[in-house]
Amino acid sequence: MIAAFAGTMPVVGAVVAQNVFFYLIAAVMVIAALRVVSTSNIVHAALYLVVVLAGVAAQFILLGAEFVGVTQVLVYIGAVIVLFLFGIMLTRAKVGSEDGLTHNNVAPAVLTAVLLLVVMAYAVVDYAKAPWGDGALEIDAVDRAPTTVELVSDSIFSTYIVAFEAISVLLLAALIGAIVVARKE
């Protein structure tokens, strides 16, 4: 998408715009994700989750994976969030803020998350700096065109046809299972 402008825009401008948008979307995503795990209103948590999921879709489009980005919007923001809102309403959440959504002592959870983040971020950055690693690989939009729906669908219906059929059966099984579990006796 951005590549379409590359002919009219200097290459440096496109690269800078890409980085600006990456950091902008990433900041919004991180703040919204923190609100999801800290807000005291369940409905607000679901709506902040919409912001995070839309940010993920935007990152997919930035990476040139347009079909995955569109699917993310359709499946997550369209279907999963509606399911969550139904779940919230059927379990009779209070309107407005509510106490007791978080454990009284969150120190162990904070410790676990921060330690995990330190370990993972150190490993990723170290991998990027290693001379044999490819973490420092660089792309910009002028290098490559986005992958088309045609390529993705060709791959799904030829190379990955068995996995595709398996996932169809899995979805059917999950559907029947959900109905059986949630049905009134």
Partner: protein
């Protein structure tokens, strides 16, 4: 854009999700945090695909993960509804039937 940018972003989202799973008492909020974790993994997959040239297999894997996550939410919310119907609460402190 560098690959490491996307990897760091997805590790931050993953850790926020882990914090949510550990710190929340409401079952629906725990399911939301699991969605955060699954999405961070998807960013990783698509980023590795985009930066290594052959993006197609990575995108197909991401699509399959989205499908499995949708199935997981359906079954998970059905379980939460059943728990709510049986005990009138989805507070995870009160779901301790297996505790000896």
């Amino acid at each position: 854009m560098y690959l490491v940018q996307f990897l760091v972003l997805s590790s931050i989202l993953f850790c926020i999700g882990v914090y949510g799973v550990l710190a929340r008492r409401n079952a629906v909020l725990v399911l939301m945090s699991i969605e955060l974790i699954l999405n961070s993994v998807n960013i990783n997959l698509v980023a590795f695909g985009a930066f290594n040239g052959g993006a197609i297999p990575a995108e197909v894997f991401a699509l399959f993960i989205i499908a499995v996550a949708a199935a997981e939410v359906g079954v998970g919310l059905a379980l939460v509804l059943t728990i709510y119907r049986n005990s009138k609460s989805i507070d995870l402190h009160q779901i301790d039937l297996l505790k000896g």
